[in-house]
């Protein structure tokens, strides 16, 4: 259980805004990448890295650290922005996103960047890694917790459900998953492309404790994380209702901003909005 108060909430919310600013700037600089699903996850990552996770940026390989796996690896910009703000590497590196020789690959590469726990991008594999990490924690009787963030479209991958079965089978109560439930995937609304609904019922049926929250309300995210820590004998999922492109008026709720970078004038407009 970690303390939640107005001051902490306000400071984490500020971090989320800083992260969103980085996301827009770095994607504008890169000229390609995935803004929609990065912006929708910014509040969750801010809560994790600036409140919830037991980590030390000066020791990225500390064996007892909590682990966070970005299973929806295409949202790499939100992870990079967060890691830079947390102090894993200099902020200047953010402008090298997707460029030749950069450690900030289009999708996270654990071999290239400190703080990246899993090489993800091919959807569904991250949650499977996370199950393995949580299992290792049980084998070693360690107290660390493992967190994973999945997209809702990602739930269409079969391996996700294999991993969920395993999480329940091995009673991994040290594992907490988030679903960034923004309702959109590249080709359109998830319910039209290949519906993973009803999402909460499915996770429940697979043996997980299910919590549902507004994924942009810092207090709700924190309270759900605290609640998840009390669940014993099974893993928990927080289904976070979010808005794709959150914080950027012309991107919000639009599938076409899944994998298109903003142009310089659009970046400028978006940054203005975030300032106001």
């Amino acid at each position: 259980m970690r303390e939640i108060n107005e001051q902490i909430i306000s400071s984490v919310a500020q971090q989320a805004t800083i992260i969103r600013r980085h996301i827009l700037t770095m994607l504008g600089e890169a000229g390609s990448g995935h803004p929609g699903g990065s912006l929708s996850a910014a509040d969750i990552l801010a809560c994790l890295y600036f409140w919830g996770l037991n980590i030390d940026p000066s020791q990225p390989a500390w064996p007892d650290r909590d682990r966070f796996v970005l299973s929806k690896g295409h949202a790499a910009p939100v992870l990079y922005a967060t890691l830079a703000e947390k102090g894993y590497f200099p902020r200047e590196l953010l402008n090298t996103l997707r460029k030749l020789g950069s450690p900030l690959q289009g999708h996270p590469d654990r071999l290239k960047l400190p703080g990246v726990e899993a090489s993800t991008g091919s959807l569904g594999q991250g949650i499977s890694w996370a199950v393995g990490m949580a299992l290792a924690g049980k084998v070693d009787k360690k107290d660390y917790r493992v967190y994973a963030l999945l997209g809702d479209g990602e739930l269409e991958e079969g391996i996700v459900w294999e991993a969920l079965m395993a999480g329940a089978q091995y009673n991994l109560d040290n594992l907490l998953a988030f679903v960034d439930y923004n309702g959109l995937q590249i080709d359109g609304p998830i319910t039209e492309v290949m519906s993973p609904e009803p999402i909460p019922d499915k996770w429940r049926a697979f043996g997980w404790e299910v919590l549902e929250i507004n994924g942009h309300q810092v207090r709700e995210i924190m309270e759900a994380m605290n609640q998840a820590e009390q669940v014993k004998g099974k893993p928990t999922v927080i289904i976070a209702h979010t808005i794709k492109g959150k914080g950027c008026s012309f991107m919000e709720g639009r599938a076409e901003w899944h994998g298109t970078a903003p142009k310089p004038e659009q970046v400028a407009q978006a940054l203005c909005e975030l300032n106001s």
Binding site: R110, S119, S122, W129, V131, D140, E162, M165
Partner: protein, 313 residues
């Protein structure tokens, strides 16, 4: 001659390793009695995890475990390890350069009666072409055990290809196997037979028959297909001028291809690739299948005579 299946040797060696090293985790996908990981599970129940019939998650979980300092041996049949789970092996294990050893049994035709759906004839090709992945195909039980110990010691992903049927024991305990170093079992000047897995024993027998015909061949056990012992291959190409490769695998992308790639750049000589000729297998006993697809002593002898002809041209 004593016989032992390489999967049996694997199961026993895993238990030995388990006693020696605390960091070993063994995983399976509901085939532990067949892959012989059940031996380990019995002795170390707390370090064995069944993924159920879910090979993709088998590899993904292995990935996660390995990032927490575990050396994971993940087993299932070769067809599922390299086929069903290919992209997880590629993107999680190899791209992440993780310390996971994919130890697949029931490779090749000698799965037998289960038929073509279960006979992996392309697994070496798939694994060999993935960066960071190393590929080992031991010939008998003794070399399987040694290979497993070496694979444990070497950080990074490996593909260990094992078989279902009992095969002749070629080596005694004095063997000192080294990953990436082919073993010259026989030295002769007329041609070189390079084999892996269960084709090593018939090559040795073919060499004996050829000697009766006055043809003296070299025989190499090329247990490591990647990284290939290029120096040895090229040296034998120079010394003998003709090569025959033999493998229980498609002639596309396996040992034969690897040998051709090596000699064509350094010292081109005729190479005959004995293997499965770009077809799927079928049901039958292992022996019948090896006969049917030409993976037998007679065919080795016949083809050595052929490459000897080519050498004279």
């Amino acid at each position: 001659m004593d016989k032992q299946a390489t999967r049996d040797a694997y199961g026993q060696a895993l238990v030995e390793l388990g006693h020696m090293y605390e960091d070993i985790i063994v995983m399976d996908a509901d085939l532990s009695k067949s892959t012989k990981t059940a031996d380990f599970a019995k002795v170390f129940p707390g370090r064995f995890f069944n993924a159920g019939i879910a090979e993709q998650n088998l590899m993904g979980m292995a990935a996660g475990l390995s990032t927490c300092g575990k050396v994971v041996f993940a087993s299932t049949f070769a067809i599922f390890a390299t086929g069903r789970a290919y992209e997880i092996v590629r993107n999680s294990l190899a791209y992440g350069k993780l310390n996971v050893k994919v130890c697949a049994t029931h490779a090749g035709l000698t799965v037998g009666e289960d038929g073509g759906s279960h006979q992996s004839v392309e697994d070496i090709a798939l694994m060999r072409s993935v960066p960071n992945m190393k590929v080992v195909v031991p010939a008998d039980g003794v070399s399987t055990r040694q290979a497993l110990f070496k694979i444990y010691e070497q950080e990074g992903p490996f593909y260990l290809r094992l078989g279902r049927p009992a095969v002749p024991v070629i080596y005694d305990q004095s063997l000192e196997l080294e990953i990436g170093r082919g073993i010259e079992l026989k030295n002769g000047p007329d041609a070189t037979l390079i084999a892996c897995g269960l084709m090593v024993a018939p090559c040795l027998e073919a060499a004996r028959l050829l000697e009766e015909q006055g043809i003296k061949v070299s025989v190499i056990d090329m247990h490591t297909i990647k990284p290939l012992d290029v120096d040895l291959v090229v040296r034998k190409a120079r010394e003998t001028g003709a090569i025959l490769t033999a493998e229980e695998h498609s002639i596309i992308g396996g040992l034969g291809s690897a040998v051709c790639e090596a000699v064509c750049q350094a010292f081109p000589v005729p190479v005959c690739r004995l293997g499965i000729n770009d077809v799927f297998g079928q049901s039958g006993t292992p022996d019948q299948l090896l006969q049917h697809y030409g993976l037998n002593i007679e065919n080795i002898v016949k083809n050595v005579n052929k490459i000897m002809e080519m050498k004279r041209l």
